[in-house]
């Protein structure tokens, strides 16, 4: 359904879709699942040439200066294509640098990100596997020169290929994000096997010294988390849309009892519920994205609502997708399983429905 994109946003969306259909077909997604790096450096460079890495970055740092909302349009298309690799975490770091970074941080990192010559990621979650500020337990010890980090992080996206890992840690009453080079002394990255094909890692930090100039002070984690959550939602919107389209097409082709199964109301009503869930996902996501882009004070609530809804609606849609496909959906060979598995990442990463429903209840004081 139409979310009221303007002419230029429509062009951006169309260009993104065209590019990804060509450069990120199903074979690429499958190849990257098996690939150790999990992304293609060649495609990463092409994306840089397109200007996506620098989409939100100001022109003086080599970017295009578009909004977070515009980024979500591209991320939705990335989800549709199941684009593998560190595109999202890299953008979460861009948001951090733009929002909370000092001029020096921006000058040092933004041009390298925009040009695609560096990959950045973040380390937020720990052993609880949860995504609230309370779950960030790692303490940054202050030293004369900066901070020292001792501890571990879990579910760090694409840490094994990142040049810089921004580690979120507690400090006093606030938080810090420390730029930790993956190759720094005391850093150990261990890839984790996942059911979704996403490359996640455990990060162990032993006496890792980070200079003061490499640390961003952030009083709360809200803005950082909000952006990461909405990007997961936007990716899910595209993913679910494609799952839904493949499923409807299948229902039109697959014949049983002498007619296409899509002629049966049992199937039609599932399809109608799928599109209702999908439309709802798209609107609630872009309303949250708009609130973030505009710095609206309702952003926290809208983001929590969006992630709660998208986490659960996306699961309902892909579950219907599997049911309508029948046994073929369980085969490795058929495409629908790629969406079914990858949905789970978007649902669980940055908090599932229960997590965000509780946050909504708290924010509404009910």
């Amino acid at each position: 359904m139409d979310i009221g994109l303007n002419e230029e946003q429509e062009l951006l969306k169309k260009a993104a879709r065209g590019f990804l259909e060509k450069e990120c077909p199903e074979e690429h997604v499958r190849a990257m699942e098996a690939d150790d790096k999990g992304y293609s450096p060649q495609l990463w460079r092409k994306i840089a040439e397109l200007g996506w890495h620098g989409l939100m970055i100001a022109p003086q740092f080599g970017g295009s200066g578009l909004s977070f909302y515009d980024l979500c349009i591209v991320v939705e298309e990335a989800g549709r294509a199941l684009l593998p690799g560190p595109f999202l975490p890299n953008q979460v770091v861009v948001g951090l640098l733009l929002d909370a970074g000092l001029r020096a941080h921006q000058e040092r990192y933004l041009p390298a990100i925009a040009s695609g010559s560096q990959i950045h990621t973040y380390a937020f979650a720990e052993s609880t596997g949860r995504w609230t500020a309370d779950d960030v337990a790692l303490e940054a010890q202050r030293t004369d020169a900066g901070i020292v980090l001792n501890g571990s992080k879990l579910f760090v996206p694409d840490a094994h290929v990142a040049d810089v890992i921004w580690v979120l840690a507690r400090s006093g009453s606030g938080f810090v994000a420390a730029a930790v080079p993956r190759t720094a002394q005391g850093v150990r990255v261990t890839p984790l096997k996942t059911i979704t094909g996403e490359k996640l890692a455990e990060l162990v930090l032993e006496n890792v010294n980070i200079a003061r100039g490499e640390v961003i002070e952030i009083p709360t984690l809200e803005a950082f988390s909000n952006r990461a959550m909405v990007l997961e939602c936007a990716y899910l919107v595209g993913l679910v849309e494609k799952d839904f389209e493949i499923t409807v097409e299948y229902a039109k082709q697959r014949v049983a009892f002498g007619r296409p199964i899509g002629a049966f109301q049992a199937i039609q009503h599932k399809a109608a519920d799928m599109v209702t869930d999908l439309d709802g996902m798209r609107f609630i996501t872009y309303r949250a994205a708009a609130a973030l882009s505009d710095g609206d004070r309702s952003a926290n609530l809208k983001v929590a609502m969006a992630k709660a809804w998208c986490s659960e609606a996306s699961r309902r849609v892909v579950a219907h997708g599997q049911q309508i496909h029948g046994a073929i959906g369980f085969t490795e060979e058929y495409a629908i399983q790629l969406y079914f598995r990858r949905q789970k990442h978007g649902e669980l990463f940055w908090g599932d429905g229960d997590c965000h429903r509780e946050r909504v209840a708290q924010m509404l004081s009910i």
């Binding site: 359904m1 139409d2 979310i3 009221g4 002419e7 230029e8 946003q9 951006l12 260009a15 993104a16 040439e49 397109l50 200007g51 620098g54 022109p59 003086q60 295009s64 200066g65 578009l66 909004s67 909302y69 515009d70 409807v248 229902a251 039109k252 007619r259 296409p260 899509g262 002629a263 049966f264 109301q265 199937i267 039609q268 009503h269 399809a271 109608a272 599109v275 209702t276 439309d279 709802g280 609107f283 609630i284 872009y286 309303r287 708009a290 505009d294 609206d296 004070r297 309702s298 969006a306 709660a308 809804w309 229960d354 429903r357 509780e358 909504v360 209840a361 509404l364 004081s365 009910i366």
Partner: protein
């Protein structure tokens, strides 16, 4: 703002797929997007994502809407009769029937004055074209209007004539019919009802049997209609009748205006679970002038489909669901109830999330209408989601008040004056009227997704 690096920007725009920049739209701050975002909940403003807001000589859309908001606020301030200001209570948040306080004589005159003030301003029918006495307002302006009215507890008049029948006549009627039929809807002189369902034709409306037989320059109507809301009050009805039994089912049906006070019309009330004004209507040799066939003979079914799309996409319904939710929030925070169970609390949070989804779906339909497109399956998505959500909200309300949910309206121990229980009973009809949930799903699947008809 520092001097824009236009050359660089142009290059990056081309990279992003925008092609050559359009000199009309390129503004230094990149996109300058005009993105409509309806927002009832927070700023209560229709906001526009204009990074260049205020920088141009031209008024931005955001400014225009803000100005309109002030205009509405001033109008309500100066025109709304005092006696109506405090008439709105918690009751109206759950009102399923806008006519409920019609009979209170003390308010009757004030309501008539307020209605006349709105009519004169064009806001009684905000969506109608100005030349037919409406406001000619865009959906965005309509949202602002509704929003300000709610905020100021100003009553709105939303009857079938204004909401459904007027727009149908405007879209499909002959010019002569528009001139004749629309003014009395605005003046309130003509109240309409919708004569669609029959005992043997509800969801399968194309199977209707009520006949209208041409006889000179009149039609003679015979048959029965049922589930007709407000037929007991209405003086005119919009009747679906078969004018050509030889034609294929859909093509033999016409839409007629029928005088409910004409000889041969009998209205009988149907008792129901709430005090909803529900009726069955019998027609026995009722004579209807031929020039009261709306539009063309034999096109009635198609006119009805567009009427139902309009009815399904009524944006004002979002506002009433928000009020219901608000009152449940207040109840949850009050000391009137013991603390909510964990399950009830999570259920209420879920309803809040779902209302946010409803706002988005409603926004989408409004934008389609704004772009001059007919929302077809999107209207059905909205109707399906809206009515099922209304039922869930009522059920959540019942869960919150536990055993007190058993108490009827008027019992003094009943929270919110028993309106939750009342709404719970009434909401069961929402997924039946204007096409059942099952019919909506059929429409979405076949008209929207192109799945083959079963």
């Amino acid at each position: 703002m520092q001097g824009p690096d236009l050359q660089h920007l142009t290059t990056s725009r081309q990279r992003l797929g925008f092609g050559l920049p359009n000199p009309r739209t390129i503004c230094p701050q990149a996109m300058g997007s005009l993105l409509l975002k309806f927002d009832y909940m927070d700023d209560r403003i229709v906001s526009f994502d204009t990074s260049n807001a205020g920088s141009g000589a031209q008024m931005t859309a955001r400014d225009q809407l803000n100005q309109f908001r002030s205009e509405v606020a001033n109008f309500v301030e100066s025109e709304l009769p005092d006696s109506l200001r405090n008439a709105s209570t918690i009751r109206s948040a759950f009102e399923e029937d806008v006519s409920a306080d019609r009979n209170e004589p003390s308010l009757k005159d004030a309501r008539a004055r307020w209605r006349e003030a709105l009519r004169a301003k064009g806001w009684l029918a905000p969506a109608w074209p100005v030349k037919y006495g409406g406001g000619g307002l865009s959906p965005a302006h309509q949202f602002v209007l509704i929003d300000e009215f709610i905020k100021r507890d100003a009553p709105r008049f939303f009857d079938m004539g204004l909401g459904m029948i007027g727009p149908t006549i405007i879209s499909h009627g002959k010019e002569e019919q528009k001139q004749r039929m629309l003014p009395p809807i605005l003046s309130g002189e003509h109240e309409w009802c919708e004569l669609f369902s029959e005992p043997a034709a509800g969801s399968d409306l194309a199977g209707l049997r009520c006949r209208a037989v041409k006889d000179g320059d009149e039609y003679v109507v015979n048959g029965q209609k049922i589930w007709t809301t407000l037929a007991n009050r209405a003086n005119w009805g919009l009747l679906m009748a078969r004018t050509n039994p030889e034609a294929p089912r859909h093509l033999g049906i016409s839409m007629l205006r029928v005088n409910m006070r004409a000889p041969g019309v009998t209205v009988r009330r149907i008792q129901n679970l709430t005090n909803h004004e529900f009726n069955e209507v019998f027609f026995e040799d009722v004579r209807v002038p031929a020039n009261d066939v709306i539009g063309e003979e034999g096109r009635g079914f198609y006119y009805l489909m567009s009427l139902l799309d309009t009815e399904r996409s009524a944006v004002s319904q979002v506002a009433s669901i928000e009020r219901t939710l608000e009152s449940l929030f207040r109840l949850a925070r009050s000391t009137e109830l013991p603390p909510l169970t964990k399950a009830a609390r999570m259920e209420l949070a879920n309803r809040a999330i779902e209302v946010e989804v409803l706002r988005g779906l409603s926004q989408g339909v409004a934008e389609l209408q704004y772009a001059g497109k007919t929302p077809a399956h999107q209207a059905s998505v909205l109707k399906l989601y809206h009515t099922e959500l209304a039922q869930r909200i009522a059920a959540t309300g019942m869960k919150m008040i536990e055993t007190h949910g058993l108490l009827f309206r008027g019992e003094k121990q009943a929270p919110l004056d028993g309106m939750i229980a009342q709404q719970y009973l009434y909401a069961s009809t929402l997924t039946l009227q204007v096409g059942t949930s099952e019919i909506q799903r059929n429409i979405i699947a076949t008209r929207g997704l192109g799945l083959p008809r079963g």
